[in-house]
């Protein structure tokens, strides 16, 4: 089974469809906070929905306002299942914990080596690992 180990984690075990991004993420700079679709022109996932996905982002972007944004998208029922960051910052963690969205940071190996967008993955923040549950042939 393909496994990614993470260094830091918060939240319960969740499963969902993986969405891998080569580019960092800000819920304010990149996301349409009414549809859950990444809309910033030029973002590598422009046009892609993050709703109910397990989202892998290499970095966190954005400032303080992002802290309320996760709660806002959870309230609107357009939140992802989990945020998996390579490198994150306090605002992302404060926002995710406040919204009750699982979040992890630090990864080995790079998820791109073992996980593809569309794979069904299980995130276990307490055990600090992410596993591929199944993948379409």
């Amino acid at each position: 089974m393909s496994v990614v180990r993470v260094q830091q984690g918060f939240g319960p075990v969740v499963e969902g469809e993986a969405l891998l991004s080569e580019e960092g993420f800000s819920p304010r700079y990149d996301l349409d906070r009414w549809s859950g679709i990444i809309t910033r022109p030029g973002h590598k996932l422009e046009g892609t929905s993050i709703v109910d996905k397990v989202c892998f982002f290499p970095t966190a972007k954005g400032g303080i306002a992002a802290g309320w944004a996760f709660y806002d998208i959870k309230w609107k029922k357009i939140a992802p299942k989990a945020f998996i960051f390579g490198v994150t910052n306090p605002v992302m963690v404060q926002g995710a914990v406040f919204a009750g969205i699982p979040i992890t940071a630090g990864w080995t190996p790079h998820p791109g080596e073992v996980i593809r967008s569309g794979d069904w993955v299980r995130v276990d923040p307490a055990r600090k690992l992410i596993e591929v549950v199944w993948r379409e042939a």
Partner: protein, 408 residues
């Protein structure tokens, strides 16, 4: 985490349900960062307005008020999204305006002081060396850490509010000595005569070193920088680099005595600064929107703008916005600076930031603005979320663009 007897009592409900929930939340955040304990804070600065919070955030605040939430330390608010004197002219949504008024009432009931400013460090509270605070937005945090030698992480709205209710914050990041040391050196080989030049330095250094834990050490500069110059430098570093601290040899209190131990050494030259300005795409050449905001203007910045706009008029069809806080605006009115700006056709907005104005995207579309010109590298970076093509120019050039309608 090691919790004190008092903290265990808060978790047992001694200070009420709102404080209990707040500390429980802070402990979770602290665990994520492997914080060993909580650290008392003396001052909180928090962001909370309807544009950033949304209806869910407003409902959360209502619940906090119902639970009897009260600040245990002095807490002030960041810039908000509505200036009630201008909301109709800006076409802001009346329903959202009403929610903004309710948020202000909720904040006041919790004993939050609604200063509505992102330049609290220039006008409201100046913490001392080693003082722990819980501040947001990012520009306030980097100024506190760097220039005052105070200690804060980026504290988002919910986190800062929790700190206000418990009087403490988890001890991680920039509360700890080991994260406050410089990580790379930047020699400033440029004259940096305008505030926009300082923002350009922040853009160059921030973009190339994006990391919350990167701490640049500036050195080699031949003049004493002013508070406004350090403000634009810090705001841009935080915005482009997600950075929370910098050192400036001979200027900031925790700067290292020498930079020999830093392995990475870079230089910013005057040519580099010029390349920032020449790097902007001027789009369709639209020159009808010039903004002095993000951060709000200090009294000195307003005075300088008044000098530049004195006796001039905005080009017909153009708009120019200046944002500042109530205290600066009152002084600017008393001193005549505000009148000079308004006589020129400039709109002064109080207590807001242009970037977070409620309804900004629809406003852009209705005014058919495509470009936004500013002397703030920070707002040039973040306004793209509203699909403006943003262009950094020096202060006097911004004024010239506003009055001539010609973008160069």
């Amino acid at each position: 985490m090691e919790l004190t007897a008092e903290e265990r009592e808060i978790l047992a409900g001694k200070l009420g349900e709102a404080a209990r929930r707040a500390l429980e939340y802070q402990v979770e955040v602290g665990r994520f960062w492997a914080a060993r304990r909580m650290v008392p804070v003396t001052n909180v600065h928090l962001m909370g307005d309807i544009e950033v919070m949304g209806d869910g955030g407003l409902e959360f605040l209502r619940e906090e008020v119902r639970l009897g939430a009260r600040c245990r330390v002095s807490a002030t608010t960041n810039a908000r999204c509505i200036d009630f004197a201008h909301c109709d002219r800006l076409g802001q949504d009346p329903a959202e305006v009403a929610k903004e008024r309710e948020i202000i009432q909720c904040m006041r009931r919790m004993d939050v002081i609604t200063t509505d400013t992102c330049i609290n460090y220039q006008t409201v509270y100046q913490p001392h060396l080693g003082e722990h605070v819980a501040w947001g937005d990012t520009g306030t945090v980097i100024y506190a850490n760097s220039v005052f030698g105070a200690r804060s992480n980026f504290e988002s709205g919910p986190a800062a509010l929790a700190a206000a209710l418990t009087g403490r914050t988890p001890e991680y990041g920039f509360h700890l000595d080991e994260n406050r040391r410089g990580t790379f050196a930047v020699r400033l080989d440029a004259s940096l005569d305008d505030l926009a030049d300082w923002g350009a330095v922040g853009k160059l250094v921030g973009e190339s070193h994006q990391n919350y834990f990167a701490v640049p050490v500036f050195h080699g500069y031949r003049r004493t920088p002013t508070a406004d110059e350090l403000k634009h430098l810090g705001a841009a570093l935080a915005s482009y680099g997600s950075m929370a601290m910098f050192h400036f040899v001979g200027v900031t209190p925790e700067a290292p005595p020498n930079i020999k131990l830093l392995r990475e050494k870079t230089v910013v030259t005057g040519k580099d600064i010029e390349s920032v300005y020449s790097g902007y795409d001027l789009g369709d050449g639209d020159a009808r929107l010039v903004v002095f905001s993000g951060p709000q203007q200090s009294l000195f910045e307003v005075r300088r703008l008044a000098q530049l706009f004195h006796g001039r008029k905005l080009k017909e069809g153009s708009s120019c916005f200046v944002t500042t806080n109530g205290a600066v605006l009152a002084q600017a009115r008393a001193l005549g600076y505000a009148k000079t700006l308004e006589d020129a056709g400039v709109t002064i907005l109080e207590g807001v930031c242009f970037y977070i104005l409620q309804n900004l995207s629809p406003l852009r579309r209705s005014r058919r603005w495509t470009n936004m010109v500013s002397n703030s590298a920070k707002i040039v970076n973040i306004i793209g979320a509203h699909r403006f093509n943003a262009i950094l120019r020096r202060s006097a050039e911004c004024v010239e663009i506003a009055c001539s309608g010609v973008l160069r």
